[in-house]
């Protein structure tokens, strides 16, 4: 009597590569890889041939050449003799400035509108619905150029502020001048400034760090650190005795005082824009925020706020009403129900799409090129590209920059998702 101990081993035949499920996946993958490599190779060889025919092989040397164009809105020192690399860096900073500003305003507006959309007040809820639908259903580029056009057409010219019969006036105790070129704000100055720290010396990649700013940040950091110690002590006392000592005013003082001391020590003062009598330069002094930045910032914030409002609304609605009722049954007040019960749960739903909207806002900030704000697209992908004719290098680098911004934001999102994930057994 024979027992079959193992399945009969079939001889490997070539056709099994196609018909046998054990081998077929390998076959398909190898074909896919082959096709992919073939395609990539074909594209790369075409590109090389074309570039050779045009006489411009891939070369990043142009970055060290002088850019010879001006960037009118910038955070760091820059002039037209600086290199293309520095121009791109200034552009990158500009992108980050508008992205951060936009994210903050869009969040504030979006949360407000999202909560108001859930309001019991019928009229307010309808108004907010109209806002959301209006902004979501019209392209963001249209909002950007529209805002820019409104600012240019409706604000007065700088020379309207001077002369015998000025038709425009500065607002807020003569400290703000809104014109069709931009808005002049008071400039932050220090009478006993610590000066700048020159990293990398005076080289092409120079990077100046204002020591005043560093001092203020250090003071702020110390204050926040002190406030956290006080809060932790308050928590310990609360868990021991059940009574939480009042910390609000103490914390405020601990954070505000060091900053105030540093500001006084540095001799902080604001120097507003001044009117002159010269026709060519009617306003001088102060900080000029160009309309291109204002338009881009406003339009991106208003547009993204509509999306954030929907996310906030969905997040709050996702928490079952039983949670509110249970908290109320425990005797918690409505304000604390929102803060201690609803929001912590809603945030788990809200944050991931919120961050992906921040990402969208950052990517949409590349539309700055339509209003002439010099962000990374305007410098590296705009004027540098046109001046040097290095399309391939510029666009590849531009994509790389955006890709690394996106991937870092995604990494933050994944980290957050991991840390708030419900711990299930």
């Amino acid at each position: 009597m024979t027992t079959i101990t193992e399945a009969p081993r079939a001889q490997f035949r070539l056709s099994m590569l196609l018909y046998d499920t054990r081998y077929r996946s390998g076959t398909i993958q190898i074909i896919a890889l082959f096709g992919f490599v073939l395609m990539a190779g074909w594209l790369i060889s075409n590109t090389m041939n074309n570039l050779a025919a045009l006489g411009k092989p891939i070369d990043f040397g142009f970055f060290a050449e002088p850019a010879s164009y001006d960037i009118n809105q910038r955070l760091l020192d820059y002039n037209s003799r600086d290199t293309h690399l520095r121009a791109a860096f200034i552009g990158l900073l500009n992108t980050l400035v508008v992205a951060v500003l936009g994210c903050i305003t869009a969040t504030v507006l979006g949360v407000l509108i999202g909560v108001l959309r859930l309001s019991k007040n019928w009229l307010v809820a309808r108004l907010m619905t109209i806002y959301v639908e209006l902004f979501r259903n019209v392209p963001v580029l249209l909002w950007i150029v529209f805002t820019m056009a409104i600012l240019i057409e409706s604000l007065p010219q700088p020379r309207d502020f001077i002369g015998d019969a000025p038709t425009a006036f500065m607002g807020l105790f003569n400290s703000i001048a809104a014109t069709n070129q931009g808005t002049w704000l008071p400039e932050v100055l220090f009478s006993r400034s610590l000066g700048n720290l020159h990293l990398f010396g005076e080289a092409r990649l120079r990077f100046d760090v204002s020591l005043d700013l560093v001092a203020i940040l250090v003071a702020l950091g110390i204050g926040i650190f002190g406030a956290r110690i006080v809060s932790r002590r308050a928590e310990r006392i609360q868990s021991e005795t059940g009574v939480r000592p009042k910390t609000g005013i103490i914390n405020f003082l601990i954070i505000a005082l060091p900053v105030l001391v540093v500001l006084v020590a540095l001799g902080f003062y604001l120097d507003g824009p001044h009117l002159t009598t010269r026709k060519l330069k009617p306003i001088e002094g102060g900080t000029l925020i160009r309309n291109s930045l204002i338009a881009l910032w406003l339009a991106l914030s208003l547009y993204t706020a509509a999306f954030i409002a929907e996310i906030v609304r969905a997040g709050i609605m996702a928490i079952s009403h039983g949670q509110t009722e249970a908290a109320a049954a425990l005797g918690i007040r409505p304000g604390r129900i929102m803060r201690l019960v609803i929001l912590p749960q809603a945030l788990r739903v809200i944050i991931p799409p919120l961050i992906s909207n921040y990402l969208n806002l950052t990517k949409n900030s590349s539309l700055a090129i339509a209003v002439g704000y010099m962000d990374i697209t305007g410098t590296l992908g705009g004027i540098t590209l046109n001046q040097t004719g290095r399309e391939l290098e510029c666009i590849l680098l531009l994509m790389l920059v955006y890709l690394s911004i996106s991937l870092s934001i995604s990494a933050v999102m994944n980290w957050y998702n991991e840390s708030v994930k419900l711990r299930e057994r």
Binding site: L18, Y19, R24, S25, T27, I28, Q29, I30, I31, A32, L33, F36, L43, N46, T47, N49, N50, L51, A53, S119, K120, N121, W122, L123, V124, L127, E133, L134, R136, N137, V138, P139, V140, L141, L142, V145, F146, A149, I150, E153, K363, N364, S366, L367, I369, A370, T377, G381, L385, E391, L392, I395, L398, M399, Y402, L403, S406, L407
Partner: protein
């Protein structure tokens, strides 16, 4: 013995009181207003502020909209009309819309050929009907939908009829090769051979065949060059083509990303993450300056076609993520159920997985569609004359220098109508396809 309760006390009601009306302050308009508008001091303030805002905005808009400037030929004329009418210089200048609306719709398309895009978009409605309202139109119409992708470019760009026919022939050849080979050998070989045959036809043979047929039988309509395209016609063309092509491509990418085949999976993940990580404008830069570099020397093809390719790739990456969400939301039991019935991969996808996954992802798919349609405005940055590109040209015109609200308001209203109706349609579809479960 009458010691019941009724006998011992003076009066006892032995019938129910008739039901009374609720107090007038809690029903009808007054009750509604009390509950929804004036339920507390804060809500009352909010209501009054909202009424003020609405009143102000309506007053401003209405007094601006009704302005007798329809026939003005320039902004200066508008201002003259307005100041002659006794009003201030406020008020819309509708002359710009009267003069340019046709341009905002069709760009520089030859005026005597306007019937062609109009016909193409009407037929688009007919071709979409079997897809959008499957239960309300005869099902034979789906054949027209299958031919339409070849009719659409021919109507818009014109030229010889043999071009679209030969493109169609490529699909037919591929299908027959697949049919013939998959019966003799395996499906995989059939698919590969079909793709190779179709590519061979399109890239190598079809050019000669089209030339030959065209010299024998020159049937065609007047050709229109791409640079004459513009306005909403261009936006809708790009939007429709990108939407139609990105859905199948997105499904393939999503399946690739969910696949067990490691290499296929990483290729798909890489593509999706790359495209989603960069702004569309950089891809459009690629379309306008780089795409010709990637192709064999001497290849030049149309800028609209290049833009179409990049917008389609862009949309398909987003679509893939939306569909992947649908695939992930499907209970594992559905996959196992399909496996236990003995369905192979493609059968399971076609009959069990995709119908449910696509249904789950309808809201996401439609919002991707809306996003793509809105993003078509970006082509104005690389110099195509979509409505925004045209608006720049109009505002640069000395007659209309300074026009803002009328022009952008008109364009925004058009976009709003398209996008808003798409989102309403998705709500209708969601309701129609909701088959239970919750």
């Amino acid at each position: 013995m009458s010691n019941t309760h009724a006998d011992t006390v003076a009066f006892v009601r032995d019938t129910m009181l008739p039901q009374q009306e609720p107090p007038p302050s809690s029903v009808g308009a007054v009750g509604w207003a009390r509950a929804n508008l004036f339920s507390g001091w804060f809500n009352t303030i909010l209501t009054f502020v909202s009424i003020l805002v609405i009143g102000f905005v309506l007053y401003e808009i209405l007094s601006w909209v009704f302005s007798p400037t329809w026939n003005a030929g320039s902004l200066r004329e508008c201002r003259e009309i307005l100041s002659a009418g006794g009003e201030a210089t406020r008020g819309a200048c509708w002359g710009v819309i009267r003069e340019r609306w046709i341009q905002l719709l069709f760009g520089f398309y030859p005026a005597d050929l306007y019937w062609r895009p109009i016909l193409a978009f009407i037929l688009l409605g007919v071709a979409l009907a079997p897809v959008l309202f499957a239960d309300k139109v005869p099902s034979q119409l789906i054949w027209f939908s299958a031919i339409y992708p070849f009719l659409f470019p021919w109507l818009l760009w014109g030229g010889t009829i043999w071009g679209p026919l030969s493109a169609l022939a490529g699909f037919v050849i591929g299908y027959f090769v697949f049919k013939a080979l998959s019966e003799v050998t395996s499906t995989l070989i059939g698919i590969i051979a079909a793709v190779v045959a179709a590519l061979l036809w399109w890239l190598v043979l079809s050019g000669y065949v089209v030339d030959a047929l065209n010299s024998i039988l020159p049937i065609g309509i007047q050709a229109v060059e791409s640079r004459n395209f513009g306005g909403f016609m261009l936006s809708i063309t790009i939007g429709v083509v990108a939407i139609a092509c990105s859905l199948p491509l997105g499904i393939v990418l999503a399946l690739g990303r969910q696949s067990d085949l490691m290499i296929v999976k990483y290729i798909c993940v890489g593509f999706i993450e790359f495209v989603r990580g960069v702004p569309l404008i950089t891809l459009l830069f690629v379309a306008s300056v780089l795409l010709n570099l990637f192709l064999p020397p001497g290849t030049t093809f149309d800028i609209i076609l290049r833009v179409l390719i990049m917008v389609t790739l862009f949309a398909s990456a987003y679509m893939a993520e939306v569909i992947r969400g649908g695939l992930a939301a499907l209970p594992k039991g559905q996959y196992e159920g399909a496996d236990s019935l003995g369905l192979n991969y493609w059968q399971a996808q076609r009959l069990v997985i995709m119908p449910q996954a696509l249904k789950i992802s309808i809201p996401g798919i439609v919002s991707t569609f809306i996003g793509v349609f809105k993003d078509t405005t970006l082509v104005s940055i690389i110099g195509l004359l979509d409505p925004l590109g045209l608006s720049n040209a109009i505002r640069a015109d000395s007659n209309w220098n300074g026009v803002v609200w009328e022009l952008y308001g008109f364009i925004a209203a058009m976009f709003f109508i398209f996008c808003f109706s798409m989102s309403r349609y998705s709500m209708y579809l969601e309701r129609k396809l909701r088959t239970g479960h919750r």
